[in-house]
């Protein structure tokens, strides 16, 4: 009687299919494939897993599994779990998608958005100074360049505001909140 074995294979396939989809989504977000797959596996598994189980299950080296787990912990979406009386370290994933999405956005803001905004300000400041320092016909060019950079910076600020509002509202209910806003402002009337 290998019905149980068949079912186990089926479970495996169910998992695999989801893991691949998640992995694609991760890659769209700039997250590497292995990291995405490990995350998906942990999300799907009811109990915490250890490094070797993960590596074996996903057919990757344990070095890769270990590094992926490190990344996921740095992103704050995976927790280390130690069980008394067990030498192994286990890992488990946050189970609520909105929670980890929120966490991810916050982390991305910190790591990526803030530094690049600083560099943008530097560039804008340099352009402004250059425009003021110049004379003659080239001055106009410099001022035009500065205007365009400022225009872009304004856009970037609004984008960051958008992120901040999202972070302030918290998880869940986002789409509904957003939709209500859309009804209140049917066209472009700010």
């Amino acid at each position: 009687m290998n019905e149980a074995a068949d079912n186990r294979d089926t479970l495996r396939e169910v998992q695999d299919r989801f893991i691949e989809v998640w992995s694609e989504i991760s890659q769209l977000w700039g997250v590497n494939k292995s990291v995405g797959r490990v995350h998906a596996l942990l999300y799907l598994t009811h109990e915490p897993l250890d490094i070797d189980s993960i590596a074996e299950r996903l057919q990757i080296s344990h070095g890769n599994a270990s590094t992926s787990i490190r990344d996921l912990m740095a992103w704050g979406v995976v927790r280390r779990v130690t069980r008394p009386g067990d030498r192994k370290t286990f890992f488990e994933a946050e189970q609520d998608p909105w929670t980890w999405f929120h966490t991810t956005i916050r982390e991305r803001r910190r790591r990526e958005v803030v530094p690049v905004m600083e560099r943008l300000h530097e560039a804008a400041g340099f352009a402004e100074g250059a425009g003021k320092g110049a004379k003659g016909p080239e001055r106009k060019r410099l001022e035009e360049a500065h205007d365009k950079i400022e225009k872009f910076a304004d856009f970037a600020h609004e984008f960051v505001d958008l992120i901040d509002v999202f972070l302030a509202i918290g998880h869940g209910r986002m789409a509904k909140v957003f939709r209500t806003a859309a009804k209140l402002f049917p066209k472009e009337r700010g």
Copy 2:
């Protein structure tokens, strides 16, 4: 008198600094470096540019410039411009950041979000079928897996809704709209 030349060098540096920042931002979005740099240069330049000028200005091969332009046109953020009496083809970028952001999101939705959502549905459907077909103790596992996949799919749908509302609202005013919504729904009360 090389004051004009100095100013030209300054303009060049102003441009370069901005181009590098934009290029970083592009890479955060998964857009490749050269494409980002070409886009930034065209945004900054008041008049349309031809392939060779772009290649020379950015110190890249004209093949690379040509491919990058092709990408940008496919994304809908760069236009081809032909001038009567001139053999060259010129290219110019959309000048309003919100407009091209909007265009980019719409295109990304079409290319990336829609296909991956289909695959997600397939995975969810397979999981559901597997759960219903199974008997015995493994059935519970399969149903649990299906539940988690559905939970993730629900989240993904809300995310897509969010994109759709953004696209419906149109450019500009986004942050303000969003902020107003936040005031109306201070916590999680949908």
